[in-house]
Amino acid sequence: MTMVGLLVILTGVAAGGCYGMRELEDLSLITLLGVDKGKTDPILVTAVVAIPRRIRPSAAGGGGGEGKPVVVVSREGKSIVHALQRIDESLARNVTTIETTYVILGEELAREDASCILDVFTRNLEFRHTTLIAVCQGTAQDFLMRLSPAVEADPATYLVGLTTVAYNDLGTSPLVTVHEFVVASTTLESEPFSPYLVTTRKTQERVPPGQGGEKKQGGESEAGQGGSRQESQEGEEVVAVQGAALFRVSGGKIRMVGTLDPKETMAALLMRGELQRGNIEIALPGAPDRQSIIRFHHVSAHPKVKRSGRDIQVTYNVRVTASLDEAQGQFQEVSPQFASAVAKTSTEELRALLERTIEKLKSLRSDSVNLGMSVHTKFATWKEWEEFDWPSQFPETRVSFDIKLFVFTTGFTSRPPVPR
């Protein structure tokens, strides 16, 4: 009896996985998903489907096969799932989003209402909360069709790498998962934001004959001002992270209301307490015609909230450790006074940036820095907080910055004896 029981149990447990079994070879893995406003149907979905044998690295380290490593397919539908079903009809395999790393929203759809993409992530098992989300200039269809990764075979890996570097090392782009987007759009305390991506045609760079396959340094994309840039050869499209797209939730709709440039994005990340590294440009004390780069190594920002009735005053305690990374020309001033002057100038520059950013957010009524999350700790119950109506109070909130910036090195410890 015991053996029979065990046999029944083991069979039951093992056979559970047989239901709905789909072999990997029968699947089309969507790595990037673009969503736009449709023309005949409400939604246009663009799927970047990976072709694994072409992504596989070869012995030489390059692409493993001939031809493009992905196929891009677009279909309209009444919903995302409906459009994906239509894409299914044109491919020989079942499409699945279990490996989707990025959802790209077209700007027109984002400005009208981005909420249409969120429901499927809450309900459908194949859509994961860890998927990243971004808005692109123009349509997502165009963006994905023109996307030509420079250093990666797989466009999804390239795009993730691009925004991750911009987020971790430059602080010029947010890195937002669908989970964070959903949370920000469903709560009173914050508004969603996302990376803002642009594509532009490269025109300045020349490639020497016979070096068509090499990437040259020194060019600059039109869209990459201050953002994360990708060099490329003439005629190719380049993708740049151009800061952040800001949203506001009202009337059940999630609308994109504006953008932050890369520097403002850095300031916003600082206020959110997420900034890991960043830099600002200042005019050198004593040599205002010379620009220099101040790199932030350690940054922290803690909002202190004072509430008096409906009056809210927030002071951000900002602490920064920085270094002078580069100065134009052979400028080799070395003295404690110079270091303190650099710190003072940097502090003022940072303060101006932070104030400009918070004023922009207030004017757009988009609390993308999660200020509400700090303010609501001053309320006892949810009812009080609801009655306070944070979205309408955010523009009225007084925000100040207490910045202490420490420059631990200006790059030199002593002045050369005979400067030239």
Partner: protein, 386 residues
Amino acid sequence: MLLYLTASTAFLAFPALIMTKAGNAAWLSMALSAGFGYIGLWGWIRWSDTTANKAFVPALRETLGRFSGDFVGLMVFTYLLSSTSLLARVFSGGTIIGLLPEVPIEILQGTLIIVSAFGAWLGLEPVARTGVVLAPVVTLSLTVVLLASYRLVDIRHVFPFWGLGPLAVLKQGLRGAGIFANISALVILKAYMRNPRLSRAAGIWGMSLGAFFMILTTLVVAAAFPYPESTRQLFPLGVLARSIILGKFLQRLEALFSFSWFFSIAVNLAVAYVLSLIVFSQLSDTQTVRPYVFPMSSLTFGLGLLPPSLIHAVAWLDAIYSWGGNSVLWLGWALYCISRVTNGKQSRRTGANGGTVRRRGGKHPGDQGNWPTGAVPDSDTGGDAP
């Protein structure tokens, strides 16, 4: 076993359900519920002290008389049976939503019930030992999920501190105490413990660990899913598990966690089966439980499929925990008070001192107060005694 009984609901929709009623202060409600759970447990312990080592139903008969004792025993049995049935349904539904979307619910629920009922058929000790063996696995998986979801957690989400208000928190705390009603299993199992003196410590440990996991789970869910987003999550722990990324080469870890939770629910159900079988066999005055295993598992399978949808099943289970659970939780104190009054009267009649009845053995054939310890079905010997 008590830990499984008290903490397994953390894997289900309860953290989200509590947030619907108490807002982001759900963890406070859960802490209050745990406090009430301790008070309820203490009532059962006090009553248990007055009945020496008698089995559950004979002790009830001694306190309440034959008819009322059987009625209350039947009430406890009904609670165990209905909560077990719906628990199997809700967990199976959750597994389908979160892990195996194309598996028919009947297959999953049937597998779960067969596994649990087979454990109950083997007896109390195999179930207990399985529980002990799997406890580290389940604890580890739960801990890993709670720790690894740190990226989603922001402690500011648990503010405003009182959520939907102190009154809502208190009401939900009282209502939610029913989740801990299964701790009353202590008095059913006491007669089968090798050392009944350890029952009190076992109860307190089981309750404490269960309360710790439930409060921690609710707190993490509240911090990861701010109100009201938290109320939209049918199985928040499952979503947290799906959000864990430990590197490119370790993917789909949630399957591992979910299966470990499957074990936890299976042990929970097996313990609940054992308890139901014990109570029913005592009510029937039979010396065996095995003939009831198949009918009872069929009954739970059928009862579990009664709710027309998973939403109904969750609502029914919530109602059973709220009303049935609370009734069972506070029953211990009621029994203790009655036994004090009854024993006081007996003492006055006989002129004896002390209120505790120390009657051992039973005049009625079904009075099984003297069941030897370890008289549960023995798989090795094929023993059939409960």
